[in-house]
């Protein structure tokens, strides 16, 4: 770690606040995006669709990719 001199606490505090605020903003926006995708997919599953929607027009909720490696038979 670099030596940040006598005012290191102020420098670390500035970067820590920036990191926390940006991370919170990213989490908030990405979670909201995922939630809206899920809600729309749920409505489409119930057969409630836009009149202009093509059959494959619905944004799919993102799912975790299956891990590579041994799989249960």
């Amino acid at each position: 770690m670099p030596d940040l001199g006598p005012h290191a606490a102020f420098i670390w505090a500035a970067y820590a606040v920036t990191f926390i605020a940006v991370l919170a903003l990213i989490v908030f926006i990405v979670q909201d995006d995922r939630r809206q995708r899920q809600l729309l997919a749920e409505l489409e599953r119930q057969g409630i669709r836009r009149r202009s929607a093509k059959p494959d027009d619905t944004p799919k909720p993102r799912q975790a990719k299956p891990r590579a490696g041994k799989q249960k038979p």
Binding site: L25, V30, Q36, L43, I48
Partner: protein, 243 residues
């Protein structure tokens, strides 16, 4: 260009752009942090506290840029009544507010060791605080009016009127005698900062700017989907009532 104003085309473009933009953003921020902490020398007057500038200056730029974007989108929303303009304005507000907040807090953390105080009521700091309050007002307005069209129109008027504050922030250091230093980067005669400090600052600013666009794209996509969900629910309720 007008094709992009179609929400469905916009969603397709956003889906393709977001992964690339995310990769480029985090690459630039990684390089920027490396340059800031391991390459940039201490300033001859500020010492190592100059490192705070690498997050403070981009945050302040984006705080003002976000509001400018909202004001331009609000004009599009009021004149052409285009839903994407309204979506762009609404979703830029929390992102701009966060960067504005960061500019205030990091500036304050720089001010204590350099000026001897966290805060002074000088024109630059006060006008930046007013910008933050305007952001909060816009967010509150969008949250408090249920009908999106009415909320959008009310917020657009506030955004356009409040835009008068942006040039005040920019020129406050020239119009009044402020503790905040005048512009040292974008000024007639070129920057007064040494290239060894200017390079990390520009890399961090590029990373922060891409982060703004990345988050704005994702937030716009979520807002378009939210409006579709609400519209579908309403249609469903109406169909159920008439059946």
């Amino acid at each position: 260009m007008w094709n992009l104003a179609n929400p469905t085309r916009f969603l397709e473009l956003a889906d393709r752009l977001i992964p690339w933009l995310a990769a480029l953003t985090f690459l630039l921020l990684g390089v920027g942090l490396y340059l800031s902490f391991f390459v940039a020398p201490p300033d001859y007057q500020q010492g190592e506290t100059v490192k705070i500038m690498f997050v403070h200056v981009p945050s302040a730029w984006l705080g003002m840029f976000g509001y400018t974007l909202i004001a331009i989108a609000s004009i599009g929303s009021l004149i052409w009544r285009h839903p994407l303009a309204d979506v762009a304005a609404k979703t830029a507000a929390p992102i701009g507010a966060t960067f504005c907040f960061l500019a205030l807090v990091t500036g304050s953390l720089w001010g204590k060791p350099m000026w001897g105080t966290y805060w002074v009521w000088d024109a630059r700091l006060t006008s930046m605080l007013v910008l933050f309050l305007l952001y909060l007002g816009l967010i509150a307005l969008w949250q408090s009016i249920e009908e999106p069209g009415r909320a959008g129109r009310a917020a657009a008027i506030l955004a356009i009127v409040g835009f008068v504050n942006v040039p005040i922030i920019k020129f406050s250091v020239y119009w009044w005698n402020t503790l905040h230093q005048p512009a040292s980067i974008f000024r007639v005669g070129g920057p007064t900062i040494d290239p060894s400090l200017l390079t990390p600052l520009f890399v961090m600013a590029a990373g922060f700017t891409l982060l703004f666009f990345l988050l704005h794209l994702i937030a716009m996509r979520a807002e378009i989907l939210r409006r579709r969900v609400n519209a579908l629910r309403q249609v469903h309720v109406e169909r159920a009532a008439s059946a």
